[in-house]
């Protein structure tokens, strides 16, 4: 009798305490995009639920907002309508756009202790290039990736190549590609040597080529591009030559989405695509495959890609503080390891790779380490003010050269002139 009364009293106290807590809870709205398979959304929801369970004074409403494009459109529209989210994951390259729209605030004001400052230093520098400008940190890397080269070991064996060695440089890629391209008497190709997709956002993989050719496409202020640099022209000429001159890649625009499938079907022996596809390839390739860094030319190189956390204007002090705390928690080693394994995204902090979970994963699946090792050579993804428009102009130029409507030089010169016209007002 006494026991049950006591229990009731405890329950009642707990109940009133929890209602009190929720009445004072900080509510956060958090938009996130999903650009890879279905597991990503579940993992984010799971992680958010874990955080809320551990921090009952915070409520987080994690909203799946579609693709990256959809998410930035939604965040901008919501902000203009006076109802911004407090936190969102958006492409790292949209940083200048969001600053220009005056929608985000830097993390710096909320990271004042020495511990916090050390935390910002703890990310891979390659990821921070797209996250900082003017000495301030606007983005915290989260779902970040980089392109890598996947190769079909069986096809390599069949062509008389060492199945464990990927091409180390451009010349080797062409040479291997020639050996790997299977053509019948009519000139009908059943297997191409290499596949660098060029639909939608060709600039991203192309930036691999330009970096390897030792040229940077845009300055870090985001107001000047380098599209008509002779080294960029040379890189584009190489891309065009892969299908026109060397005939190791299919002609025309190559679809990004169908690329992993073409690889599984044996249509191509090598492909360039995001590490975000790693888990997909691991689960679906019907043959042994290898993952390597992109081949080098003048140097090794690749762009980074993917999304950052941004803090939006219009939130209360408490909300922003809670949002920062959540970001620190979700990028901490254990959580980041879980996220990285579920998707293939590169864990953004070196510390993550030292966790037991991550060590067990990479011991079992070594290709996951390639992307991390490539970060040393990686540069910021092309990003400027009015980013979508400037990269749009650049994409059109690449497509025109790839489809043979314009020469690389001509196309890039026009693109540079158009980019200059757009960016002039930001200089």
């Amino acid at each position: 009798m006494l026991k049950s009364t006591l229990l009731k009293a405890v329950a009642a106290t707990a109940l009133s305490f929890s209602t009190w807590a929720s009445a004072h809870a900080v509510d956060l709205q958090f938009y996130f995009p999903v650009a890879v398979g279905g597991k990503a959304a579940d993992t984010i929801q799971e992680l958010t639920a874990d955080y809320v369970a551990a921090n009952p004074e915070v409520n987080i409403d994690a909203v799946y907002a579609g693709s990256y494009q959809d998410t930035v459109a939604k965040a901008i529209t919501a902000s203009r309508g006076g109802n911004p989210p407090q936190l969102s994951v958006i492409l790292s390259v949209d940083m200048y756009t969001l600053i220009d729209e005056d929608l985000i605030i830097p993390f710096d004001d909320y990271l004042t202790s020495d511990e916090d400052k050390a935390w910002v230093e703890g990310f891979y520098p390659a990821f921070m290039e797209n996250s900082q400008t003017g000495g301030k940190t606007y983005g915290i890397p989260f779902q970040r990736s980089t392109p890598v080269l996947y190769w079909n070991k069986e096809a390599f064996k069949e062509a008389g190549l060492d199945p464990d060695v990927a091409p180390a440089n451009w010349d080797e890629m062409v040479e291997f590609g020639k050996m790997l391209t299977k053509k019948d008497a009519d000139g009908k190709v059943s297997q191409w040597g290499v596949r660098i997709p060029s639909s939608g956002f060709p600039y991203w993989l192309f930036q691999g080529l330009t970096t390897q050719n030792d040229v940077i496409l845009a300055n870090s202020e985001g107001n000047k591009t380098n599209f008509d640099d002779p080294k960029v022209v040379e890189a584009l000429q190489f891309l065009v030559d892969l299908s026109q001159k060397h005939e190791v890649m299919a002609p025309g625009i190559i679809e990004w989405g169908a690329t992993p499938k073409a690889f599984f079907e044996g249509q191509t022996a090598m492909m360039w695509t995001s590490t975000g596809n790693l888990t997909n390839v691991r689960n679906n390739a019907p043959f042994e495959f290898g993952v390597a860094m992109l081949p080098a030319n003048k140097r090794r190189g690749a762009p980074t890609g993917g999304g950052n956390f941004y803090l939006f204007k219009g939130a209360s002090e408490e909300q922003t503080q809670a949002a920062v705390d959540f970001v620190q928690w979700i990028t901490a080693p254990e959580q980041a390891a879980k996220w990285s394994i579920a998707t293939g995204y590169v864990a953004p902090r070196p510390a993550t790779w030292d966790t037991e979970t991550m060590k067990a994963y990479t011991a079992d699946f070594a290709p996951a380490l390639v992307a991390r090792d490539q970060l040393e050579f990686a540069v910021a993804e092309l990003s400027t003010y009015q980013n979508q428009r400037v990269t749009g102009v650049f994409n059109d130029a690449l497509a025109a050269a790839i489809t043979g409507q314009k020469t690389p030089e001509e196309a890039l010169k026009e693109a540079q002139a158009q980019a200059d016209a757009v960016l002039e007002e930001y200089r």
Binding site: D100, G257, G392, A399, I402
Partner: protein, 295 residues
């Protein structure tokens, strides 16, 4: 007394119109006027508000090569889709109007593309067009030994590939209107002609087709509007590429307004689209109307 009644009728009438009018103004007229006004201002950015710039946006539009390109594309798209889908619709309607085995099934089969969402349809067609292992390549490869194609990745064929999807999607929809119209034509006319000894072609050309004219006018206007309106599949199939070879006017407007966030220039392009559509609709009603035989 009488004037009071007129006044009451008048109030009554307006009250009945009010709900429809509120929606029409809120979602059609006011946005159209706002768009028109916005087209004379610069795009507001967070740190700079919009300022009046007169006709600058229109000058930019006139010298924008992409605008002219998408306009031409749209013209070809209209020429490619409208006559073919209407002709197909008439043929299909005549066919399923006859007594044939499994008529219900055939009608349903023709109408299915209309029911399916365009985005889903585009994903299926994306697989058809995929180079190498797509349906078309598998068929042409095994039957004729053709090598892999790249219909969507080649500027010469990308727009045509989109046109085919659109015709497939639209013909079934227009068929329904023609089917309804065919069933409204009295059989006696056809029987009388047969007694006179008219052949099938003469009956179609002299009786059926003229009697279908009101439907053709309606379908034509819809087809013209659709040729400016249907862009959903472009997002999936080509994203406007390569180098804007398959971009249409509305697609470009979306891109400018919601990818580049140049809402003012987007508004200018929208005004151009509105002007074009109104011209076409007016033209069709005035020119076409004379040739239409109403019962």
């Amino acid at each position: 007394m009488r004037s009071l009644k007129i006044k009451r009728d008048w109030v009554h009438g307006w009250l009945l119109l009010l709900p429809a009018m509120v929606f029409l103004f809120a979602f059609t007229h006011i946005p159209a006027i706002m768009t028109f006004i916005n087209s004379f201002y610069s795009t507001p950015r967070g740190r700079r508000s919009a300022k009046f710039i007169g006709l600058d946006n229109y000058e930019r539009m006139m010298s924008d090569p992409v605008f002219w390109k998408v306009l031409w594309n749209n013209l070809w798209f209209a020429i490619g889709t409208i006559p073919v889908s209407i002709a197909l619709a008439i043929v299909m309607a005549l066919w399923v109007n006859e007594r044939l085995a499994g008529r219900g099934f055939v009608r349903m089969a023709y109408f299915t593309p209309t029911v399916l969402p365009l985005i889903a349809v585009a994903n299926i067609w994306l697989f058809f067009y995929t180079p190498g292992f797509g349906l078309f390549d598998q068929i042409t490869g095994s039957l004729f030994g053709w090598s892999a194609s790249n219909y969507l990745g080649d500027p010469a064929t990308a727009l045509n590939a989109i046109i085919i999807v659109t015709v497939w999607k639209e013909a079934g929809f227009f068929m329904i209107f023609y089917l309804a119209a065919l069933q409204a034509i009295p059989v006696s006319l056809k029987e009388a002609a047969q007694i006179e000894g008219a052949g099938r072609w003469t009956i179609f050309w002299r009786i059926t087709f003229p009697l279908l004219m009101p439907t053709t006018l309606f379908v034509c206007i819809n087809a013209v509007i659709n040729s400016f309106r249907l862009v959903d599949h472009i997002f999936i199939l080509t994203d406007g590429g390569p180098d804007n070879a398959s971009a249409l006017l509305l697609f470009y407007i979306f891109e400018v307004a919601f990818r580049f966030w140049e809402t003012a220039y987007g508004a200018t392009l929208t005004v151009a689209l509105l002007a074009l559509l109104s011209l076409l609709a007016i033209g069709q009603f005035f020119l076409f109307d004379r040739k239409v035989h109403y019962k």
